[in-house]
């Protein structure tokens, strides 16, 4: 598998302008990164309310810490590191709800409605994801859903490359095994 993700979707001048106090640049950063941030947080924490809270907390911290953002650094790993920390803190805070999967109402955003089969398949994935250790879930989501390079994931998690590859592999192994069982049972 190619470890190089597609190019960053962020205009590299935006974080620097935001750092200089340009609120419009920050608004554009939020607008660009909000969907991916929410997706990652939702798959990490497992419910919409906590995911939105984690994303909001993360962007508040980003805004107040932009002065510490290095001009030569890349924004996405920085944001995702802060967001991943917020997700972990929230999960710890709400550990008693960890096994309850409460994905929100499905918003109507065009496109064909999903069939029951699609819904069942998605919920099976959510169930298996929720059983993964947090560090495996985080590494899998960053690598396979957010398309991050392992080097960037290392910056997000502070973990070495070989350990990260092992986490992703183990997550993939579990997903393959459990979801194959689901398909066989159908």
């Amino acid at each position: 598998m190619n470890d190089t993700p597609p190019g960053s979707s962020i205009d590299p001048t935006l974080p620097l302008r935001a750092k200089a106090g340009d609120r419009q640049a920050f608004a554009q950063l939020v607008d660009v990164m909000y969907p991916r941030s929410l997706r990652f947080a939702l798959h990490m924490v497992g419910n919409r309310e906590d995911a939105e809270e984690a994303v909001q907390d993360a962007f508040v911290r980003v805004w107040h810490n932009l002065g510490r953002f290095r001009d030569d650094a890349r924004f996405e790993p920085w944001l995702f590191r802060i967001l991943a920390n917020r997700c972990r803190s929230l999960m710890e805070k709400r550990r008693r709800h960890a096994m309850v999967i409460q994905y929100g109402e499905v918003p109507e955003r065009g496109g064909p409605p999903r069939t029951n089969d699609d819904r069942d398949w998605t919920e099976e994935i959510y169930r298996v994801l929720a059983t993964l250790p947090v560090e495996q879930r985080e590494a899998f989501l960053l690598r396979h859903v957010e398309d991050m390079a392992y080097e960037d994931i290392a910056a997000v998690t502070g973990v070495g490359l070989s350990a990260l590859r092992m986490r992703v592999k183990r997550a993939c192994d579990v997903l393959r095994a459990r979801l194959s069982e689901v398909i066989r049972d159908e």
């Binding site: 909000y34 508040v60 107040h64 810490n65 920390n85 999903r114 194959s180």
Partner: protein
């Protein structure tokens, strides 16, 4: 690992990437920005503690700084933080609203909690015979929100919009859909049209 198993991970990836469960509320960005602007600047020692979580220092260095900050915080009992608190935006009105600003900036005019905000749209298309505004706020109905031609040749209209994020475009001469060249592009494919984004801020 065989090919079928790889396809399994690919299927998981596509499901998680495209699930509508993670689709943002269109107004979420506007609400989030309001929260950010209104959030008080953390106290000095809180920011030093944040250094441990927000990457810039090594963990060891950050721990040392955090330890020192705790010591200073204990000595000053929060006196530093109180002096550094910033007035909320609503009190200072510092958000820029400037002539010639993009609609994103113009939309930052102040309003009540959920009251519509009068938002001005301006387009420089001197060759057009007619221009109307289409967007998610008027169900993309061409002609329902016509722009007025100014003597300068610019086209303009002011529309009350609910706080939040809206996608819009201009309809030129009743046929050509054009995004706003001065506003951020929308990557929403909901309507299959090229669009721009305006964020309307409530207070």
């Amino acid at each position: 690992m065989n090919e079928a198993q790889d396809r399994m991970i690919e299927r998981v990836r596509e499901t998680l990437r495209t699930t509508p469960d993670a689709a943002p509320d269109p107004r979420a960005v506007g609400r989030l920005l309001n929260t950010v602007w209104e959030s008080p600047r953390p106290s000095a020692w809180r920011r030093l503690l944040d250094a441990w979580r927000v990457p810039a220092l090594s963990a060891l260095g950050a721990s040392a700084v955090a330890g020192f900050a705790l010591f200073v915080g204990f000595l000053t009992r929060g006196a530093l933080g109180e002096r550094l608190e910033r007035e909320p935006l609503s009190a200072t009105g510092e958000f820029p609203v400037q002539p010639g600003a993009t609609p994103v900036m113009q939309a930052a005019a102040f309003a009540g909690e959920s009251a519509p905000v009068l938002t001005q749209f301006v387009l420089d298309r001197r060759d057009a015979r007619s221009v109307s505004l289409v967007g998610d706020f008027n169900d993309w109905k061409g002609g329902s929100t016509p722009l007025t031609r100014l003597e300068s040749g610019l086209w303009t209209v002011s529309v009350p919009l609910a706080p939040g994020r809206h996608v819009y475009a201009y309809l030129i001469d009743g046929t050509l859909v054009q995004a706003d060249p001065r506003a951020p592009k929308s990557d929403d494919a909901d309507y299959g049209r090229e669009g721009s984004v305006v964020m309307v801020f409530a207070r």
